[in-house]
């Protein structure tokens, strides 16, 4: 029981202190805030150690599994190569570390990113079906926006005005509506955690 109560008490006290701190400009309050940020950074850097241990454990165990051995070997080799190159040859602008990053990591990330073009087409192919009234409105809107933002769309009268109206009025209004709900949800969740009503994180 105590095992649950102590973390709940810590959360309650720090939650209230940090909420009040926001409204207090006094240097003492600023000092509390700065100290908490330093703690935050210290905790996060310790978490990295645990994360790296987890990464290494995960991949070394999979080396025994034929199905995954190859992939995990690549992950481990890549990890140790970067660590070694970084520690031995440095990480400054003209180092091998930066070269590997720029010529391998960046293109690999760009390649994964570019998959979006393909995934978007297959998702659109499957999703925009005239199943009912709402789906039809969604499809027609998508149709107008997709067509309106092509070069040829400029040749259809009023197309640009319609696209602009859709983006500036219904699109923005719905976005803001969602954001207001999100804002309130964030505050409510914070209050629930501070008051200890939401306690899933200590096992419920």
């Amino acid at each position: 029981m105590l095992q649950k109560r102590i973390p709940l008490l810590i959360v309650f006290i720090t939650g209230i202190v940090m909420a009040v701190q926001y409204f207090v400009p006094h240097p003492v309050s600023q000092h509390i805030y700065d100290t908490s940020l330093k703690w935050d950074r210290a905790v996060a850097s310790m978490a990295y150690i645990l994360a790296i241990v987890s990464f290494l454990r995960f991949h070394t165990r999979r080396l025994k599994d034929k199905k995954y051995a190859l992939y995990s070997t690549v992950s481990l080799v890549a990890f140790f190569t970067m660590v070694l190159v970084g520690f031995v040859l440095g990480t400054d602008e003209r180092s091998l570390f930066q070269d590997i990053y720029k010529n391998m990591m960046v293109p690999l990330q760009a390649t994964t990113f570019s998959l979006l073009a393909f995934f978007m087409s297959s998702a659109a192919y499957r999703a925009f079906r005239i199943r009912g009234l709402e789906a039809t409105i969604l499809m027609i809107t998508a149709f107008v926006i997709i067509f309106g933002t092509t070069t040829i769309g400029n040749y259809v009268p009023y197309m640009n005005d319609i696209v602009e109206w859709i983006m500036a009025v219904p699109n923005l209004a719905s976005k803001r509506g969602i954001l207001i709900g999100v804002g309130l949800g964030v505050v409510a969740t914070s209050i629930k955690i501070i008051l200890g009503i939401e306690r899933n994180w200590v096992g419920g």
Partner: protein, 358 residues
């Protein structure tokens, strides 16, 4: 030279010094130089003297009308004087101002409207929590995406395949991530009851450590700590597209029966959810990332939109105290809608009130 000398005699008034806020760190020095002097100035210096005797000189931009001196000590008194130069020649030197202390206050009055709204909102929520305690039955509208959570876990059990849970690509300071982890706890308990495997690849180291503990706790709560497998809740990578590639690969290789995407997402959302859709998995997403919502809506079977993500924990647990907070949230939203509507109507008639809120 003689002209400069005349100026020096004429304009020796000290600068005005005051505290711009209550942080106890700042003093603003007002620089009011006559126009005749202003046009000649090429550089300006501010001399600061502490009551303890330390003197510092600060170079400031020549066109400034006020300069805010930062990082001061609220227990020390300071005074200032201005030196104005024209091409390196001193043309104006003011008298010392009076000694002033940076003001350190215990309440920022500019945040008063926000404070009132916060208190009001908290009171509303606490009121509904008490109502829930008094056993007043509170109605919650059915949310399809949350109704589907149990079904989705059940499906994975029937098929004998694992569940993949992603808690988003944001950090733990993002409330969406915390909401996602709360949902993870529910799902882990449910999956534990059915002895279904749950895989949680993590993007952020802090989130990883918390997710791991939460799943462990969830299994302990249902009395099955033996089911916890540390290798299934792991840190994958903190590279955005590297993570997307890893999770996509796991979905394909493990042939997961159910995928959950909860929390905050960026451009990788479609890569994750479309890959999941291609493997035929049942998918439930929940995010407050407005830009990524459309992608989840078209690729997932169920999507929790915005605040539904935050309501999920209360909905799944049916704990009256938690559902009380949702009622409070709804009332606050209603109040806010009335205020926005009222102010919009007023602005149509040319009355622009902001109540200090916006």
């Amino acid at each position: 030279m003689s002209f400069n000398a005349v100026l020096m005699v004429l304009f020796l008034s000290p600068p005005r010094v005051f505290s711009p806020d209550g942080t106890g760190k700042k003093l603003t020095v007002q620089i009011s130089l006559p126009k005749e002097v202003q046009v000649q100035i090429t550089s300006l210096q501010l001399v600061r003297e502490c009551k303890t005797g330390e003197i510092d000189t600060l170079d400031i931009l020549p066109f400034l009308k006020a300069y805010t001196d930062n990082d001061l000590n609220y227990k020390v008194e300071y005074r200032y004087k201005i030196l104005a130069f024209s091409n390196g020649n001193l043309i104006h030197e003011s008298e010392w101002s009076d000694f002033a202390k940076p003001k350190a206050e215990w309440f920022d009055t500019s945040k008063l409207p926000l404070f009132i709204v916060m208190i009001l909102f908290t009171v509303i929520i606490i009121f509904y929590i008490f109502q829930a305690r008094a056993n007043k039955r509170l109605f919650l509208r059915p949310i399809a995406g949350l109704e589907a959570v149990n079904e989705a876990v059940g499906r994975a059990t029937e098929m004998g395949r694992p569940i993949i849970f992603i808690s988003g690509l944001s950090t733990i300071s993002d409330i969406a991530t915390i909401a996602a982890l709360n949902i993870l706890s529910h799902i882990a308990k449910r999956a534990g009851q059915f002895e279904t495997r749950i895989i949680v690849p993590c993007y952020d180291p802090v989130v990883y450590t918390i997710a791991r503990e939460m799943v462990k706790e969830a299994y302990t709560t249902i009395g099955r700590p033996d089911l916890f497998n540390g290798d299934d809740i792991y840190f994958a990578t903190d590279s955005q597209f590297g993570y997307a590639a890893h999770v996509a690969a796991r979905m394909v290789r493990e042939k997961s029966a159910t995928n959950f995407f909860m929390g905050y997402y960026f451009a990788e959302s479609l890569i994750l959810s479309e890959t999941g859709a291609s493997t035929g998995a049942i998918q439930v997403a929940g995010t407050d990332s407005v830009a990524q919502l459309p992608f989840f809506v078209v690729t997932c079977d169920y999507t929790l939109i915005g605040e539904e993500l935050y309501a999920a924990s209360a909905y799944l647990s049916r704990d009256p105290l938690l559902t009380g907070t949702i009622k409070g949230q709804d009332l606050a939203k209603l109040l806010l809608t009335v205020v926005i509507f009222g102010l919009s109507i007023l602005s149509l008639f040319g009355v622009n009130l902001t109540l200090g809120l916006f």
